[in-house]
């Protein structure tokens, strides 16, 4: 016997009271649980008179973009994973080639905007190869050393015992700062760990495999949350923003460095020309991978512009949200606070 399912409200305008979905199976009307995903009913649809129309509507609802392609939301995560798995080894080389080294300045600017002090707990999401994390550690170390120097200079007339005590307490050159690097992609984390050991970063960092939409951390844990060139690859950006809000301490800061909309028409044309003509070619010649870099430049175009993204951040509960466009808007740094 074929099971047929008919959905009532919200489709049925006669019963606008609840937005709960009611499903009619052989056994009669039963309320569908909120976690129920509509696609699961596809097998029952053939018998439903409204089936075809609802099916197409709900299909549109669970589709999203992958660059300029349209894919289902379930597919997108997997496809993005594959892209980063294949680009991981050449990621840094390609970044330098594609941005002519300018990406280093952008990341430095992000750190200068952050101005972390020793003792800051940073969560760097989608931080795979560790660029932001290493800069953070360098910055904090430099700060701490500067502070030490100032203290020493100020306490020149202290007794020897007190100075010796100061020296004995100094084990932690980071002053308690810590960065948690979280990424969904194992390959990117692997490359990051290799870089860390090659460049001598041992203390103050931890590597975690995790999904930005569902972070494996408790709430109110971090002082700063950063996501650099990662949020446009997330399937549900709003969920990532909500998670960011959750794990930040009250008073914590959200910082996002991401490609954005260019505000100058001439620069925009040149940028488009460069993005679509040159970058996939660079990807093919240097990394042997055209399609991943085609996806990367298309995903930039699909990302909301500065104002719209600012509104999304505000929707997630952040306050005092501001943004700063860099290089004529090629990238933008968005900042918000959890208050």
């Amino acid at each position: 016997m074929r099971r047929t399912v008919r959905l009532l409200s919200p489709v049925n305008m006669a019963a606008p009271r609840s937005f709960a979905l009611w499903g009619y199976c052989d056994r009669g009307w039963s309320r569908l649980m909120p976690g129920c995903r509509l696609p699961g009913f596809r097998s029952c649809w053939p018998g439903c008179p409204l089936g075809a129309r609802l099916l197409s509507q709900e299909k549109r609802a669970t589709e999203t973009h992958f660059g300029f392609e349209t894919v289902s939301e379930e597919e997108k995560g997997g496809k993005v994973y594959q892209v980063f798995e294949s680009v991981a080894k050449k990621y840094d080389v390609m970044n330098d080639m594609m941005s002519l080294g300018i990406h280093r300045i952008w990341k430095d600017l992000l750190l200068w905007k952050m101005r972390p002090f020793p003792g800051t707990q940073l969560l760097d999401v989608a931080g795979g190869t560790g660029d932001i994390a290493f800069r953070f550690l360098n910055y904090v170390q430099a700060q701490y050393r500067g502070k030490q120097k100032r203290q020493l200079r100020a306490q020149q007339n202290l007794s020897w015992e007190e100075i010796a005590q100061k020296y004995q307490n100094e084990e932690d050159s980071l002053g308690g700062s810590h960065v948690m690097i979280c990424d969904i992609n194992k390959e990117m984390l692997k490359i990051g760990k290799q870089k860390a050991s090659a460049q001598g970063y041992k203390a103050g960092l931890a590597w975690v495999l995790g999904d930005a939409e569902e972070l494996p951390f408790d709430e109110d844990k971090f002082d700063v949350y950063t996501i650099a060139f990662g949020i446009r690859n997330v399937t549900h950006i709003d969920r990532a923003l909500q998670e960011a809000h959750r794990v930040l301490k009250p008073g914590g800061r959200f910082l996002c460095l991401e490609f954005s909309q260019v505000n100058n028409p001439l620069v925009s044309r040149l940028y488009d020309l460069y993005s679509f003509q040159v970058i996939p070619v660079l990807g093919e010649v240097i990394a042997g991978d055209w399609k991943s870099y085609q996806y990367l430049v298309e995903s930039i175009r699909q990302f909301p512009p500065q104002e719209e993204f600012k509104e999304m951040i505000e929707d997630a509960g952040f306050q005092k949200v501001t943004y700063e466009s860099l290089t004529s808007g090629i990238v933008a740094i968005h900042s918000g606070f959890k208050l």
Binding site: P10, Q57, R60, T70, Q277, L282, E284
Partner: protein
Amino acid sequence: MATQLLRPLGPLRLLRRSPGPAADVPLRAASHGTSLLYPEHIPTSPLQKALLAVGSAGMALYNPYRHDMVAVLGETTGHRALKVLRDQMKKDPEGAKILQERPRISLSTLDLGQLQSLPEGSLGREYLRFLDVNRVSPDTRAPTRFVDDEELAYVIQRYREVHDMLHTLLGMPTNMLGEIVVKWFEAVQTGLPMCILGALLGPVRLSAQNLQVLVSELIPWAVQNGRRAPCVLNLYYEQRWEQPLTSLREELGITDPPYPPLMS
């Protein structure tokens, strides 16, 4: 009705901006959906082809192990030569048959057992021996991507798959010297710019002794044979497995190599 269903699902801002292709980005190549001429096709603009040609040539010289770069160079520069080749194939009865039936040489289409059982000295047996000795496989050929004509894409794919046959016919191993000799032969036969470039620039990486042998004996032999032989793409190799190699060489006018380069 659509909005009624969508509203409880939250403000899906991302879906408001429809994934718009060519309209708002005038200079992108349409690489999705129906504009593909064959499965692996990546449509490219003339500027992209030029950049690819230059980039792949540079990278192939810098790192000779990047065979994919040699392939890309061939695809982006070979349009005119491929048309000439295709027309040549159409004029020849065997070549026209190949164009129609589109045979492919890969491990899945070859019957290795049958080839193994063929008598010594036959094309099939010698081809298999060549694959074994040099430890190569017909499946390492990258698929064509940047050729914007479906038939020409097949022609260049066929050329790539026939490359190993040429090694067998000419008796050349897959070391640097052997590859250059085959490239000279192919350059004369096909006129593909990639072959010509490879033939001219490949010797740069050879030792002085090898270079001397190459220039004095191997290149003249390869050029002579290349000129004399009919178009090698016109041979339906799949139907000639049993033919003895010597008789095939006679048919094509290929003489024995003067100085067989040592297998490395």
